[in-house]
């Protein structure tokens, strides 16, 4: 499986993503600097977390207009797989590859903590190694993860099984208390209609070995391998 990680000037989870992909696929991903629009043929492009261009404007807004992002869109249009984690998710919504927007957290504060996620749909290239309704623990670390979409879009996402992960409590219920940032329908991650693009705020790449406090993030990467191989 061939992968590429796009690096914007203030990406800061790029190394973590590169390590996770290398560990799981056995191959070092291509590392693509944002000014380089020559992306080799790959199975998966990852947009890592961070602050891309400082995010003084709307998070991900500038990155979405970066030349390299056009190539990401082309890759996605060809049916290529794309994941956007945290800032990567914000960039994906800014490009329109995924619907909705990520607004400032309801608390108006940056939040870093472990959250429970329920796997809503395991029939996707990004979740097939999990069981449906499995509860996994993955850390979040963001200031703008409050997922918003209009009612019609939300209804479509729900109906089409495009909500990949939802914030839930210990009992697996999507309660208000379990929602860390005010996201509509407790949405933590969604996929595109063609199921080839996923955006999520939590960081599975931070939880792939016991020393990091758990391995619940492994299933995410294993799913992608299952889907591609």
């Amino acid at each position: 499986m061939k992968t590429a990680v796009i690096i914007f000037p203030a990406s800061n989870c790029d190394r973590d993503m590169i390590i996770a992909l290398e560990k799981i696929t056995g191959h070092k991903p291509h590392i693509i600097w944002h000014q380089n629009t020559n992306i080799p043929e790959v199975d998966l492009i990852a947009l890592p977390g961070g602050f891309s261009f400082g995010d003084y404007l709307r998070c991900g807004a500038m990155a979405a207009r970066s030349p390299v992002t056009k190539k990401v869109i082309e890759h996605a249009d060809r049916g290529g797989k794309v994941i956007g984690i945290c800032n990567g998710f914000q960039i994906l919504t800014e490009t329109g590859l995924l619907p909705g927007a990520l607004m400032r957290n309801e608390s108006l504060k940056f939040i870093c903590k472990d959250v429970n996620l329920r796997v809503e749909n395991n029939d996707t290239p990004f979740t097939n190694a999990y069981k449906k309704d499995q509860i996994i623990t993955i850390p979040i670390a963001h200031h703008d993860g409050n997922y918003f979409a209009d009612e019609d879009t939300l209804a479509a996402l729900e109906e089409e099984g495009r909500v990949a992960f939802r914030y839930v409590d210990d009992k697996g219920q999507p309660t208000k208390d379990a929602n860390p940032n005010g996201s509509r329908n407790n949405i933590a991650g969604i996929i595109s209609r063609r199921k080839n693009i996923l955006g999520m705020m939590p960081h599975p790449e931070r939880l792939i070995e016991d020393a990091q406090g758990g391995t619940d993030g492994l299933g995410f990467f294993k799913s992608i391998i299952n889907a591609i191989n």
Binding site: P9, R15, F51, G54, K109, F110, C112, A141, A211
Partner: protein, 736 residues
């Protein structure tokens, strides 16, 4: 704006620049003439307390700074220690107190930015941020605003640059009502043969300015940090710098990329006193001169004068001496990262800092005497008078011990800091293996089995009551915290926050704390490798509690051996290492329950500390221990409750307090103690080996169940403990 560099230097102007008559006379002697306005500005910031350490230097020299593993001690941008395998850890802690009081978000943010630059300028990739924060009383009308702004600022900067903030400490005390403390620490990882220093060399070599443009922000920041606060300090808001973490991130990456080549001769960040102190330090350090054409300095604003350029504290700037002929290659790197790159001068053999602006020389100062002949004061001091000791029997027992424990752990002083930590990205870089909330933060050395343990500590109550014991205890507590995760403590950085040194009793506190620190560092073979002094922490004549914040660093050779404070299983045996005498003098119990700071701090027996700590570490290393927690603020019962909460598991405790009142036994802050949680089948081995080593260890209970139980008559459910622990800060910060 009209500007006259040769304006008459009046007595009033000299005074406004914070120079005494003696200091000005010294300046005249060095120059052999009257200074220009730009020169006066340069002398003023270089000889400010903040940059020159003129009141503290004579005492700082007494601290031990050497050990076999120390590569660079104080004098460089940060301390450098050897962690084996050609790797080094570079670290330092620095204060940003006054700016943070005036503008908490930017003050704290730029504090983080500044300390990051001190570390990466030496060639290290920053891997962990820590901090030590002191706020006024929670009831003070400004505290909520300051806490909120400082935490957001620390997070806002560290989160964006992508360096995890992994721990720290937060205290509240009315002595900080008008003068909070924001001490930021950074730890970086470098290769030993790729460490960069600041001493310039090579006549004719180009001097390069990189990073952000220079603006008018922060002019006279160093001078502000060297004076007491008054009511009108708010008017100094314009002297607080504004941080741009995005540019800092670019600067880190660009500098590390440049450092991977062989183009750099010397490099120095522009910190306090900006272009002035960086150029003077580089030139005087190398015994050379610098000739700058200030027209070449990238400027953010129009019409900036040489005076403003030299004194600006605009952030995210570095000064680099390159090997000749490498400018284009180096520029390509900074172009890639969209950062300014300007050749602003060359190295000369004059020994002078010569500044040209619009074709005219506006300053020409010999750098050696400017740096080396800075004033040095032996300020008069009066040692703090010994306080009367406090007999535990004279401290009233609480009417309800259970309620007392809940009050303690639910107080501002011991409650959960989750509200703070959750605003920091604790895990970016994916090497954080012990997050805030334990004894020390632990971060893996990337790609190895090693890990670095870091702890910041100080108990200002102790330092105020007895500076010598307090200074000792601050050092020892970091050593103990690092030990408690299983690491070997190696060295410290210090951030010494005190009041006005011109007052003999304040100077006495400083001298006392240094003496205590010195004794502890020597006894523990735990030298000081970097640090910072912040004096004049006073508002309207009232000083803060003396606060020598210590940042300790240690190494775990095998990170898989690390332990946390959370017992892993039920039915483990809880063991107490060290002796309990029920020392309640200046304890948190006394402060919270009686509102008193009477008595003397618990004495630190350095030999016993070392013996107990070395024993605990050896048992962790032998994988005999499931969890370990040092006993500090709040004493034994608080430490046990913290372990139970971390594990979300009950425990059953039986204390044999003998003739010591139970509240003194349970809440006394005797030093040199740890609680161990061990599997049943290992308990006897541990008790036996402790006996052989002459270490006092006794069984005090067992883990398991859903309740925290004490002596069979106090029962608190774990959810109750957790709620009480969590509530205070959440409630406090969420009141509109």
């Amino acid at each position: 704006m009209t500007w006259n560099n040769t304006i008459e230097i009046t007595k009033q102007l000299v005074k406004e620049h914070g120079l005494s008559d003696d200091e000005y006379a010294r300046c005249l002697k060095i120059l052999g003439r009257t200074p220009t306005l730009t020169e006066l500005g340069i002398f003023s910031v270089m000889w400010s307390e903040h940059c020159s350490y003129k009141s503290s230097k004579v005492h700082l020299k007494t601290l031990p700074t050497k050990a076999a593993w120390v590569i660079h001690g104080p004098g460089e941008n940060a301390g450098v220690i050897d962690i084996g395998d050609n790797q080094a850890i570079i670290f330092k802690m620095e204060s940003h107190n006054h700016p943070s009081y005036i503008e908490p978000y930017q003050g704290a943010a730029t504090g983080v930015g500044g300390i990051l630059r001190d570390v990466f300028t030496m060639g290290a990739r920053p891997i962990a941020n820590m901090n030590a924060l002191r706020f006024g009383s929670p009831e003070h009308p400004k505290t909520r605003h300051l806490l909120s702004g400082v935490v957001a600022g620390i997070g806002g900067y560290g989160n964006c640059v992508g360096v995890p903030t992994v721990g720290g400490e937060t205290n509240f005390h009315p002595s900080y009502d008008g003068n909070i403390l924001v001490n930021a620490m950074n730890v970086g990882l470098a290769t030993q043969d790729k460490i960069f220093l600041s001493a310039a060399a090579g006549i004719g070599n180009p001097v390069i300015y990189v990073g952000s443009k220079t603006g008018r922000d922060g002019i006279h920041g160093a001078t502000m940090a060297s004076a007491e606060f008054t009511e009108d300090s708010e008017e100094k808001r314009p002297t607080v710098q504004v941080g741009d973490p995005f540019t800092e991130k670019l600067l880190i990456e660009a500098c590390l990329e440049l450092m991977a080549t062989d183009m750099i001769v010397a490099i120095q960040d522009m910190g306090a006193a900006g272009l002035t102190s960086s150029s003077v330090e580089m030139a005087s350090g190398g015994g050379v001169g610098f000739a700058f054409n200030l027209d070449m300095v990238p400027q953010r604003e129009e019409g900036m004068t040489p005076y403003e350029m030299m004194l600006s504290e605009s952030q995210e700037r570095m000064l680099i001496v390159l090997k000749p002929g490498r400018e284009a290659e180096a520029k390509a790197i900074f172009d890639k990262w969209d950062l300014d790159f300007a050749v602003i001068g060359i190295i000369t053999d004059t020994g002078n800092l010569t500044l040209t602006f619009k074709g005219e020389v506006v300053a020409d100062i010999p750098t050696q005497p400017l740096a080396d002949n800075a004033p040095e004061y032996k300020r008069p001091f009066v040692m703090t008078a010994p306080k009367a000791s406090l007999d535990p029997k004279d401290v009233p027992a609480p009417s309800d011990l259970k309620q007392a424990l809940l009050t303690m752990i639910g107080s501002p002083h011991l409650c959960s800091r989750d509200w703070i930590w959750q605003q920091y990205d604790m895990q970016v870089m994916a090497d954080t293996i012990q997050k805030p909330g334990g004894d020390a933060a632990v971060v893996r050395v990337h790609g190895t089995n090693k890990a670095v343990a870091i702890s910041t500590d100080c108990t200002p109550r102790y330092c105020y009551a007895d500076p010598v014991e307090g200074g000792k205890q601050a050092v020892v507590e970091t050593w103990r915290n690092i030990t408690a995760v299983g690491a070997t403590p190696l060295a410290i950085t210090d951030c010494l926050n005190f009041g006005n040194p011109e007052r003999p009793e304040i100077m006495g506190q400083f001298v006392g704390c240094i003496e205590g620190m010195r004794e502890a560092c020597i006894a523990l073979d735990y030298p000081v490798v970097s640090g910072n002094v912040s004096l004049y922490n006073e508002t309207n004549g009232t000083g803060i509690h003396p606060t020598p914040a210590i940042g300790g660093v240690g190494i775990l050779k095998d990170s898989s051996k690390m332990v946390t404070i959370a017992p892993k299983n039920a039915e483990e045996i809880l063991l107490l290492v060290g002796d309990t005498k029920g020392h309640l003098g200046v304890s948190l119990y006394l402060y919270i329950m009686q509102g008193s700071e009477k008595g003397t701090p618990p004495p630190v027996d350095l030999a016993l500390e070392k013996k107990n700590g070395d024993y605990v570490r050896s048992q962790i290393d032998a994988r005999m221990i499931s969890a370990c927690h040092d006993v500090s603020d709040g004493g034994l019962l608080v430490a046990l409750a913290e372990m139970a909460m971390a594990a979300k598991m009950g425990m059953n405790i039986t204390l044999n307090n003998g003739d010591i009142p139970l509240h003194a036994y349970g809440f006394g802050e005797d030093q040199g103690r740890y609680i161990l949680s061990v599997a049943q089948d290992k308990a006897d081995d541990i008790l036996n080996s402790a006996k052989l080593m002459g270490v006092s260890v006794q069984k005090i209970g067992q883990t398991g169940g859903n309740d925290f139980m004490l002596n069979d008559n106090i029962t608190i459910s774990i959810p109750d403990l957790l709620d009480t622990h969590r509530n205070w800060m959440n409630n406090y910060m969420n009141i509109d």
